[in-house]
């Protein structure tokens, strides 16, 4: 469980939306170093939009995003390439690798823009973390399986040594075996010192490993708590589905 209390990312009263319609309303949350934060909720609740607003792909309507321990570095509204330089990584849900580049080249793109003396070292570290990728290192990204591509996407974000990575639905479309592999890797990343904010549809999967979890409904945070605790909470399912029903307990 979290050893350090240092803040990695803080979101204060963030609101965002498209074309005048707000989809995210006054959301505040905090992710600490060595923590996995989970963001779950039904589709259309705004979790992807929230992630886009934090990562600079979308400009927030109001509120702030701060990186690091207080007072921290304000990131609100900065373009994506600057955020990358500040130490914020972002793994989108789809289109998260470069299809016509090899695995090796994909990783190198993450390092471009600066003269990285430690490039080879970082590369080696990535291959240690993701051995499957090493085996496939000369293959084109579009030839990889879904699971391998997801790992590559994580590695691309990770290779720049960010302090926090935002991950958008890493397990989407993956088989159960690969899902488990993703959860394992996220845990390893946490041990390696990276904070993570993960948006997920597979609630059970992510709650198992999340230190802090938030349920978003209709653009606001409805419930928060430690992942495992929330998972046991009977309220979770009904709030998630929005109906007054009791989910049958599994044996």
């Amino acid at each position: 469980m979290p050893a350090s209390a240092r803040t990695a990312l803080r979101v204060d009263n963030l609101s965002a939306g498209y074309r005048g319609d707000l989809v995210v309303h006054n959301v505040s949350l905090e992710i600490r170093a060595n923590e996995i934060g989970a963001l779950v909720g039904p589709n259309g609740c705004g979790k992807s939009t929230l992630l886009k607003a934090i990562s600079g792909v979308l400009t927030p309507a109001s509120g702030t995003v701060t990186l690091g321990e207080s007072p921290g570095r304000e990131l609100t509204g900065l373009p994506p390439q600057e955020l990358a330089a500040c130490g914020l990584g972002y793994v989108p849900q789809l289109a998260n690798t470069f299809p016509s580049l090899t695995v090796l080249e994909n990783l190198r793109v993450g390092l471009s823009g600066r003269a990285w003396k430690r490039a080879r070292e970082r590369q080696a570290e990535m291959f240690e973390l993701f051995p499957d990728l090493y085996a496939a290192r000369t293959r084109l990204a579009r030839q990889l399986s879904g699971g391998q591509r997801e790992m590559l996407a994580l590695a691309i974000a990770l290779i720049r040594n960010p302090s926090i990575i935002l991950v958008d639905e890493p397990s989407a479309g993956l088989s159960p075996k690969f899902k488990d592999l993703i959860w394992e890797h996220l845990v390893r990343l946490r041990s390696a010192g990276v904070a993570l904010l993960v948006v997920e549809q597979d609630v059970s999967g992510i709650m198992e490993i999340a230190d802090i979890a938030h349920l978003m409904v209709d653009g606001s945070i409805a419930m928060s708590g430690a992942g495992r605790d929330l998972l046991q909470d009977k309220e979770l399912a009904s709030r998630y589905l929005g109906v007054d029903a009791v989910i049958a307990e599994a044996d």
Partner: protein, 295 residues
């Protein structure tokens, strides 16, 4: 038989020039995702620059280098001040296409103002044709082919083995993701235009040497072959464009030899029409991907 061999030999040379032009266009299209109807003027400006330089030095190669540089300069200035403001402001692809077409007219008019409406002549050292295998080539021909091959190799090396090339291919694949990874996409686009200008300039220089005399429509008239090569090879695919360029050069030359040289462009059009209607993603495209270019 020797008619065929001569035609093929001729086609290789003209194909080399088409390759240069279409490689240039392909590079540009892969990052900007829109066609540039003023592409021909990049060739023309290099040709005119050579003519201007001839007043200073009669060394054709030196003149050519100046031509390349001028073309590269024009390319990057065009993008920075004319195209980019539209790219960032409009989501309609046709708007951008109209702008590039208008730009071509502005450039053609500028050339007419500076150099007059008549044909200009480039002094080219004469050389004798000799047989190289089955083909009949002059020294100029060989130089043109050599330069095209060199350009291809250099481009290939840069794309595959340098950090810039990798960034360029990343931006071509997915500009948003590249940004998220920290790539300065604006800079990549700028340098791609410079590369486009250099390659197109080389095409224009060789075309000028080849034609001897030309007017302000030199590059424009070459657009049919250039577009045909780019589309046949697969929009955005540099290697496909290069091969298709060579192919088109040979095809048009051979067809023209047996019918009427004036019609050889029609054969290129015919091939282009067939490819567009049957396989719009190009002959060399392994995926039948959607070629939606913009947005």
């Amino acid at each position: 038989m020797s008619v065929l061999a001569d035609a093929i030999g001729f086609g290789v040379v003209s194909g080399a020039i088409v390759s240069l032009s279409s490689m240039a266009m392909s590079l540009q299209h892969s990052v900007t995702k829109h066609a540039n109807f003023s592409h021909g003027e990049l060739l023309t400006v290099a040709a005119y620059a050579m003519v201007a330089m001839q007043h200073l030095t009669s060394n054709v190669l030196l003149d050519g280098v100046v031509g390349l540089v001028v073309a590269a300069l024009l390319a990057v200035l065009l993008d920075e001040f004319v195209f980019k403001p539209f790219r960032t402001r409009t989501r309609r692809l046709v708007t951008l296409l109209v702008v590039t077409a208008a730009a071509s007219q502005v450039l053609e008019g500028t050339f007419a103002l500076i150099f007059g409406a008549n044909y200009v002549t480039l002094q080219v050292p004469t050389s004798r044709a000799r047989h190289v295998g089955p083909f009949l080539w002059t020294t100029t021909d060989e130089v043109v082919i050599g330069l095209a091959v060199l350009a291809f190799v250099v481009t290939h090396v840069v794309l595959r083995y340098t950090s810039f090339g990798r960034s360029q291919r990343a931006v071509a694949d997915d500009a948003d993701l590249a940004r998220v990874c920290g790539v300065n996409t604006s800079q990549v686009i700028r340098w791609t235009w410079i590369a486009t200008g250099l390659l197109a300039g080389l095409g224009g220089a060789t075309l000028a040497v080849y034609s001897g005399t030309f007017d302000n429509l030199l590059g424009f008239n070459f657009l049919l072959l250039t577009f045909a090569a780019m589309i046949v090879g697969g929009i955005g695919k540099m290697y496909g464009a290069a091969i298709a360029g060579l192919l088109l050069g040979i095809v048009t030359s051979v067809a023209g030899a047996y019918t009427n040289q004036g019609y050889n462009q029609l054969f290129a059009l015919g091939l282009l029409a067939i490819v567009v209607l049957v396989r719009p993603s190009g002959l060399f495209n392994t995926r039948a991907a959607d070629t939606r270019a913009f947005g």
